[in-house]
Symmetry: C3
Subunit: 269 residues, 3 copies
């Protein structure tokens, strides 16, 4: 995996050279955090959700994040407008189906997005992805109760949806339908904070903006994200001091850290 | 009050065993903070406000927070849908009437909620509660200028409204209409940050989700909240370092800390 | 500039004596941060955006912030309602045209506000102000790519608009159309965080609430803001630890610090 590590480090370095604009239609809970994470990883955030401007805004962007964490009908309309324009322009769309499985609105909207938009990467927890794939997930609020944890199942889902699927958990699983990779970077502190899944999605979007092999982009992003968490954890005495250290570490990461620290394994059957 | 302390500690421990889902319809300013506080106290947060999904979401929840801090008409509709479903299902509803008294919209909406919903606990500052009770409060923005500080008055209001009333301030007052308790935990740093009242409401909801004696739940929650603030204050050199330490302390609290540290006095006349 | 420093320190001290209410119609990304900054500088924040209450709320306020960072049509309506009432009452209106130049919605709405409202201070980055003045700015998302950096040009824009114009950057430029001042306080860490421009606007509003010489208010606010950043930077090992230290420093600033530390130069041609 040494070559993989170097590839990830090169993608990471490109983010900081190109500072791509990442257009977010995301939830109210995490907007501040994901804007900061976008900056710390080396990209530039913009949050804009008015139907009147999303098509214009996404045309300036390197990637589009659609995150349904606090969904309402007017946002759905804007998400489709932005997503369709992004597709037309070749701007990668990264979908975070927060809480799919918990309510019909979230499940059906996510399914419509998978059907009607070209999604570069979908990132969810095991319950969200299992629910959307019809393989029996259980989601309570935004937490995964039961879900998909098997590499072969993730591979199958990615092939069915014809997109890159990233299932985050203790070991993240990422597949493009041909290969499936496991990412072993990360730290339990990430589960003690709100919005860390949404932040991971944002980092995937920053990687996808500069690397159109989306399997590489998504797995590299999650490994880099997890690496920063590992580096932050030793300095933390609780979730809030961890969050502060994590943000600082994301900012202070170098390509050399990334090349040396990411742990990605090939789990393709 | 040693038995009271042990009761509070047992309720606190149950939150961490049961990790109840706390459904919030809350304001945009505090969403991130209250989601984190929900997690740090040991429960699980979800923010959802679309009329199309609130009834479904609240059916998964252990408690519902209704907080009117950034109120608009569409949110009012969703709040009543969620609140009525919560009432039908026996899910406790905790109301935070942010800014009641400052504008007619906030005052009238809060009064309608007190009239049309079964509220388990209402938590406000002295000005908000005084305004709503018709006893002459003055609220400027979201700050209490004049309000109710007398235990007997709080008891009377709780009896009139037939709900648990929690008035937070230097000494918090909590009554169910029969008894009135004073909570002496807390720290002045809590007044130097936005949203600490909203965070206290969230902690009350986490307690109410696992303890349906709402006098015990509300007073135990406020004492626990204040205890974490006390533990955090010595490490702080300003409000932001206090906030970080406070969140870490909430997370690191044990049932033993709670049993040893909460200070609740019976002020029943 | 010693007399200027003393003037700024006196305005600063008045904020803490009067604790003016600052009514914000601002974007979702920064609401929590700007509410805290409002408190730390010594004023009192309220966020309220319902058309049904903004006129009532602004009548309690010492200043009104209009920030278009996450603009939608219903917010535009509320912003004009609040702005017109503020004008009628003599409450200073501080405008932050976030992303003007990036989309037509933002550019046109900002121009309408400059035309139809009496704006006490407009604060933007170089690209936003240049775009709005028709002098060829380029804005990507919310970042300035090309803009106005010349004191004489800022003076000319302020004269044309008949308002105080504050262009923030490495050296901030502030003009009322007669004089133009440069503010040299600040730190590069402010560019590594989301929302620091919005926070600066909030501090300008707090100053404008207690000082109706808006050239003094805006330049004093930006200098004070930059001074806190300078004091915070040495303690920081990244943008998140900087943010924490910066908030603590804003809170811990004294009028003596301000008098000794602000660096304002007269650049009037």
């Amino acid at each position: 995996m040494n070559e993989m590590n170097n590839q990830v480090a090169r993608v990471f370095a490109r983010i900081r050279t190109q500072t791509p604009l990442i257009h977010h239609l995301t939830n109210f809970v995490v907007m501040n955090d994901t804007a900061n994470v976008t900056m710390h990883i080396g990209a530039s955030p913009v949050m804009a959700h008015a139907a009147a401007e999303v098509e214009e805004m996404v045309s300036l962007a390197g990637a589009l994040v659609i995150n349904i964490g606090t969904l309402t009908p007017d946002w759905i309309e804007a998400m489709f407008l932005a997503g369709k324009r992004a597709n037309a322009l070749g701007v990668p769309v990264v979908l975070d189906p927060v809480g799919a499985g918990a309510t019909t609105l979230r499940t059906q909207t996510s399914q419509r997005m998978l059907n009607e938009l070209e999604i570069a990467v979908i990132r969810g927890n095991a319950g969200e992805i299992a629910t959307l794939s019809g393989s029996g997930g259980v989601v309570r609020g935004v937490d995964s109760i039961e879900g998909v944890r098997d590499p072969e199942a993730v591979l199958h889902i990615a092939r069915t949806w014809n997109t890159v699927v990233a299932v985050t958990g203790q070991r993240d699983l990422v597949s493009d339908g041909r290969r499936v990779l496991g990412i072993d970077n990360g730290h339990v502190r990430l589960t003690q904070l709100t919005g860390t899944g949404c932040m991971a999605t944002t980092v995937i979007a920053a990687f996808a903006a500069v690397e159109h092999d989306f399997l590489l982009a998504a797995s590299g992003a999650l490994a880099t994200f997890g690496l920063a968490a590992e580096l932050a954890a030793s300095a933390a005495s609780g979730p809030a001091s961890f969050k502060l250290a994590f943000f600082d570490q994301l900012f202070n990461l170098s390509a050399e850290h990334v090349a040396a620290g990411v742990r990605i394994v090939d789990l393709t059957p």
